[in-house]
Amino acid sequence: MSEATTPLWRRRGLLEGAILLVALFAPFVVPAYTTQLAMLWIMVVIAQSWNVMGGQMGYNSFGNVIFFGVGMYTTAVLQVGLFMNVSDYNAAQGAAALQLTSFEYFLGLGLGLLAAAVMALIVAAIMGSGLLRLRGHYFAIGTLGLGIAFAEIFAGWEWVGAGSGMVTPLFPGGLGSREIFFYYAAFIAAALTFLMLRRFYAGRFGLALNAIRDDEDKAEAMGVHTTRYKTVAWCISAIFTGIAGGIVGNLVGFIDARDVAFSGITFGIWMILMTILGGKGTLWGPVLGAVVFHITQELFWTYLLGWQRVAMGLLIVIIVVFFPLGILGWARERYPEFFGHRVEGGEAAANEGRGE
């Protein structure tokens, strides 16, 4: 008979309830920070999504930002394309060219986000058929290269605005309502991602991914459908990242291929960093990492302006070199019982590795 001790800090979903409460009321408590808070939830989404690949499966993708950009462009293109010729819209370079009613806007947004998810999935499946054959550093650099290729290609594609970028349709609402709407959209995306991933990790999906990470050859030798799992994992990772992209495109209002949509040195690297900072391969790690990272980043922006990117680069190096285990990883070593681990004669035991 197996015993399970619920980790102290997870009793009766206290933590989740607290977060839910804070999240629901935040825009009214600190309205000046609504956009930043919305971005925070977006960070939570992309960090969690990346974790599926890099943390749980050990396939460190430097190109997940591809799905972010694909989602962003797909949503915007659909939002515009439903009502107007996309080329004309971009040639006119302004949302003023397109006047939408509330219904039209939200219909376009809804369908757009759905399309973003589907498109991201398709791209992941196609990319995966080639790239998932690569292992380790080849996979990492291959995805890095592909990410930049996407940025360059979209930056030259006239239909979506090429170098001038693409403006997303105007939000039908008063001042500040856009931020509040997308704040809740981002929060819902983050919550959905969390709940779905928690469910997936609890089943054979989670174990299979971890087995692939720990010893892919062994997994193959034991008959695991590794190709299938890898592809499904990347598709899941892509879907949520794509939706996040679609939301950001509308939140920011402007899509630039190199600097926003497919930006490897911002969103692309951040999703990796946040996961490592919080703790790779854990459920809450990316969430925690995203919160800490985003707050740090906002502080850098406020106080270091101009040099904040330099500080970011330095932060990456410091985190990777000195804190590779991340916050949760470090905490788990230090206080194993707190996490529901049983330590037997000096050996650490994972009681419920899935649940965090």
Partner: protein
């Protein structure tokens, strides 16, 4: 008895080294067959050739009558032929129970099963098998923290969990405390007699292989040197010479 595994005239070279030359062996359903030979004679290479770890240069490998020499490793595993590794490979960051769960047979897994949970029977079976190899007490420990011998037992248990028809064991007693070898042998025999698993075992420990195997093949310098009943092979002068390095 039908031949479960038929290896015919298999050859494999690495650069200039002829690791396997025209090897033909046969393992029948329910048998325990031993594979012996001095270091470097090509035993592990033969295993790798059989399970698809690398392509063979010539010859054929048939499992249950089907040609498998062009299949992928995971496909062959799903057909029911597993192998254990000399260096013992397990999933180090998962617990023993988790190692066992992921070792459930995957041959009937459809794409819709991917996101499902494991049924409680799976956990029961895992714990039964862990009990069988004597690792029940350690079932919630991280596999990476087990000793080498314990990891070997875990690997064996994982193989059993996968419900194979045939198991290729690469030096199952190497590195195990001599006092525990009898226990392992007993479990191997029970796996064969109770679970009906056919065994092909590479072994260096003569006492073990002579007691365990019903038939033995001996390799030397990449070629098949002798085959037959344990006593016959043991007394074969060529085999003695090969081990003593006289040839």
């Amino acid at each position: 008895m039908t031949a479960l595994l038929e290896v015919q005239e298999v050859s494999k070279s690495f650069g200039g080294i002829h690791a396997n030359q025209n090897i033909s062996i046969e393992v029948r359903q329910g048998e325990i067959v031993g594979l012996i030979g001095p270091n470097g004679s090509g035993k592990t290479t033969l295993f790798n050739s059989i399970v698809g770890y690398h392509p063979i240069d010539a010859g054929s490998v048939r499992f249950e009558g089907e040609e498998i020499s062009k299949l992928q490793v995971s496909q062959i595993a799903r057909l029911g032929m597993l192998r254990t590794f000399q260096q013992t490979r397990i999933y180090s960051k998962l617990t023993c129970v988790q190692n066992m769960l992921i070792s459930l047979p995957h041959r009937n897994e459809s794409i819709f099963d991917i996101l499902r949970r494991f049924p409680p029977e799976a956990t029961e079976r895992a714990e039964e098998l862990l009990e069988f190899v004597g690792l029940y007490q350690k079932r919630h420990l991280m596999a990476g923290s087990l000793s080498f011998g314990q990891q070997k037992l875990l690997e064996f248990a994982m193989a059993l969990m996968n419900e194979p028809k045939m198991l290729l064991l690469d030096e199952p007693t190497a590195g195990i405390n001599p006092t525990l070898i009898n226990g392992l042998l007993e479990r191997l025999e029970r796996a064969n007699s109770d679970l009906g698993i056919t065994l092909l075992v590479i072994e260096h420990n003569m006492r073990v292989v002579m007691n365990l195997a019903q038939r033995i093949y001996c390799l030397a310098h990449g070629q098949l040197l002798a085959e037959g009943l344990p006593e016959d092979v043991r007394n074969d002068q060529r085999v003695v010479d090969a081990y003593l390095g006289a040839s």
